[in-house]
């Protein structure tokens, strides 16, 4: 797996796009993450120089927000909602099941690189909990069997959606 330290991706086109945008740092970080999958530490000096900020300020923003990753993540991101509505429908059991079957904790990636597991606090799908988001798709009423099916699906094992 490629590590952040080795990443020499050129982001100058993105910096150029956002450097004159008022409050452009968050949109820029989102754009970098969309393009590279994460925000490598090696991009921080270019971001700082482009937006006339200190590297510490840029690092401070990246580390403040849960969304921004500084290491490569799995090919799919699976988020389990931990908020109250989902708890009332059994998400605590679902979380335990997910960690056990995937063999990882939150913020970790499976050994095959297919899935990174994350917690999320509310997906706005609270009338049909528990909720899980896989990449940009949200799924409702996810019990343990449904979770296994969804995970198998994104891992390409051939189970239907």
């Amino acid at each position: 797996m490629e590590t952040s330290a080795q990443n020499t991706a050129d982001i100058s086109h993105l910096v150029a796009q956002y450097k004159a945008v008022p409050g452009g740092l968050l949109p820029l970080l989102h754009a970098i993450q969309t393009e590279l999958g994460y925000v490598p530490d090696t991009t921080v000096p270019a971001i700082a120089a482009g937006l006339n900020l200190s590297r510490a300020e840029v690092h401070g923003v990246i580390s403040f927000y849960h969304d921004f990753k500084t290491q490569p993540v799995g090919r799919n991101t699976v988020q389990i909602c931990r908020a109250e509505a989902c708890q009332s429908m059994g998400s605590r059991l679902l979380e335990a099941h997910a960690k056990e079957t995937l063999g990882i904790d939150y913020h970790e990636t499976t050994t095959d690189g297919s899935i990174t597991l994350e917690a999320v606090y509310c997906l706005g799908n609270c009338a049909c909990s528990p909720s899980v988001r896989i990449n940009d798709d949200v799924f409702a009423r996810v019990d343990q069997d449904r979770f296994d099916e969804l995970v198998a699906n994104v891992r390409g094992v051939g189970v239907k959606k």
Partner: protein, 508 residues
């Protein structure tokens, strides 16, 4: 016959996309509408016949052939037949102002919006002075729907009174409270209404730039808002010289990055400026020194959406709904362990019990309800003795609870309220911005003290300590995050103490 299947997040999460594909496979091109908000019936398939618009739900792709067959003969013979949509009691009994268009058609179809009275409020506003618009908002009695319930007209007046070349309208669409989806439904089912409300706000206070700060957890809303803004610009409802008036208003969506605290208005402004979402001390008020230090209206999605209604139908019409100082309608979001969850728009004053019994029909699990959390993760847990409280800002404040953004999360009798109290503190640990000590460190200590109480380590003294800690957080925090995290904790202690001591479920 015209077919409708929603492109709403919850409908999609329940399989609406595969229903749409099944329809297409059968040679039918469905309109991808927004949701009606009856999430317990999603995916809800609607069919417009010559007589009426009927519904089937919840449908899955495998139901499509039999529904199409039934439509050829006798639609009402199908098991999933629900009758005419507007006669479904859940919907028919609501008082919809903000959600009157939700689910009727393609949410980004501009013609559809205008046919359904869209942009009439804006056209009215274009004939008025800024002060006249602000006066209408004041007369309507509209209070901020984000949770703090501050009178919108007063906030707008403050911004209008500021002498500044540059002012901003900021929409708080960082709907992070668990159990809430009302903002999402507006943005996914009727995005032009929000755009219209923001544009009117800009005309009222003299702001030419607006931002919608949208949480990144809402990818569908993000996509639809961007399409809607683009089309509104093309049709000159946004941009320069709006409808030939000489007035300007530009609008842009900015995406958050997963921080709950950015729903707090000053933290949101910091985030919009490209910084860490650290809460600012007030004063100065954002109305005077807000985004980039300029006078700024920060309002919730529902507040701004209501503006379109007020300017279209008049302040008096809006003001005629509600009770006491809570005027207009409340977007109640029924969620959690509930049989019929969804969006219920009613005038203020309905009791919690009416909502959960009449609309919700009890728990999804079929077990008795034990506790209800209203107003998100910072709201109190209410035992049955408090369910007859009318949904009104003042009535809820009187029992140390809050309406907040109108989210209701129902828990059945398997809920462990000590675990929920611990979670309230744990959530504050994860989401505190870290600026003030009572919130940042108090929440960490709160988790530890609750663990000791549950483990029966020096329980009596630790209970005193927990109350003391709650006092410190309530009185010493900069914002509602630290200041209100004690609400769910204290309500759990008051009403569900047995869960902390392991002495069964005899509630107080």
């Amino acid at each position: 016959m015209k077919f409708y299947i929603p492109q709403d997040t919850t409908a999609l999460a329940l399989g609406a996309e595969s229903v749409a594909r099944a329809l297409q496979a059968a040679g039918v091109a469905p309109v991808r509408n927004g949701s009606r908000g009856m999430f317990w019936l999603e995916p809800l398939l609607e069919v417009e016949t010559e007589q009426s618009r009927i519904a089937f739900g919840p449908v899955s792709s495998k139901d499509i052939p039999s529904i199409l067959d039934a439509l050829e003969t006798e639609a009402s013979s199908h098991d999933l037949y629900l009758g005419p949509v507007d006669q479904i009691a859940y919907l028919a009994s609501q008082q919809r102002l903000t959600y009157v268009r939700a689910g009727l058609g393609d949410p980004v179809c501009l013609d559809n919006y205008q046919t359904l009275n869209g942009f009439k409020g804006l056209k009215n506003a274009l004939t008025l002075t800024g002060q006249q618009i602000v006066d209408q908002v004041k007369d309507s009695g509209l209070r901020g729907r984000g949770g703090a319930a501050f009178p919108a007209g007063i906030k707008w007046q403050t911004v209008l009174n500021c002498n500044s070349e540059q002012k901003y309208i900021v929409c708080n669409a960082d709907e992070g409270d668990s159990g809430t989806f009302a903002d999402r439904l507006v943005m996914e089912a009727d995005p032009y209404q929000l755009i219209e409300g923001m544009c009117i706000a800009g005309l009222a206070v003299g702001a030419a730039q607006g931002y919608i700060y949208l949480r990144s957890e809402y990818p569908v809303a993000h996509k639809l808002l961007n399409i809607a803004i683009e089309r509104a610009v093309e049709a000159n409802f946004l941009g320069d010289n709006i409808q030939g008036s000489g007035k300007t208003f530009h609008l842009e969506v900015r995406l958050g990055a997963g921080a709950y605290i950015c729903g707090e208005e000053t933290s949101l402004l910091e985030s919009l400026e490209g910084k860490r979402g650290m809460v600012r001390a007030k004063p100065p008020l954002p109305a005077i020194e807000g985004l980039f230090g300029k006078p700024t209206v920060v309002n919730n999605v529902l507040t701004l959406a209501a503006i379109s209604t007020i300017l279209e139908q008049g302040a008096e019409t809006y003001q005629n709904f509600g009770m006491g100082r809570s005027r207009g309608t409340l977007a109640i979001q029924l969620a959690g362990n509930i049989k019929r969850g969804g969006l219920i728009e009613l005038a203020f004053g309905v009791t919690l019990r009416e909502v959960i019994e009449d609309y919700g029909q009890g728990t999804y699990s079929g077990r008795p309800i034990r506790a209800i959390q209203v107003g998100g993760p910072l709201g109190a847990f209410l035992p049955e003795s408090q369910w007859d409280t009318p949904m009104d800002y003042e009535a809820f404040a009187a029992i140390k609870a809050m309406i907040g953004h109108g989210g209701i999360v129902v828990f059945d009798d398997t809920a462990d309220m000590a675990a929920q109290a611990r979670f309230a503190m744990e959530f504050c640990v994860v989401e505190s911005c870290g600026k003030c000590t009572p919130c940042r460190i108090g929440s960490v200590r709160g988790v530890e003290v609750i663990d000791r109480i549950v483990a029966n380590e020096d329980r009596d003294n630790n209970l005193i300590l927990l109350h003391d800690l709650c006092d410190t957080m309530e009185l010493g925090s900069l914002c509602a995050m630290g200041g209100m995290t004690p609400f769910p904790v204290r309500s759990a202690l008051t009403h569900f103490m047995n869960d902390f001591t392991g002495e069964g479920k005899g509630d107080n």
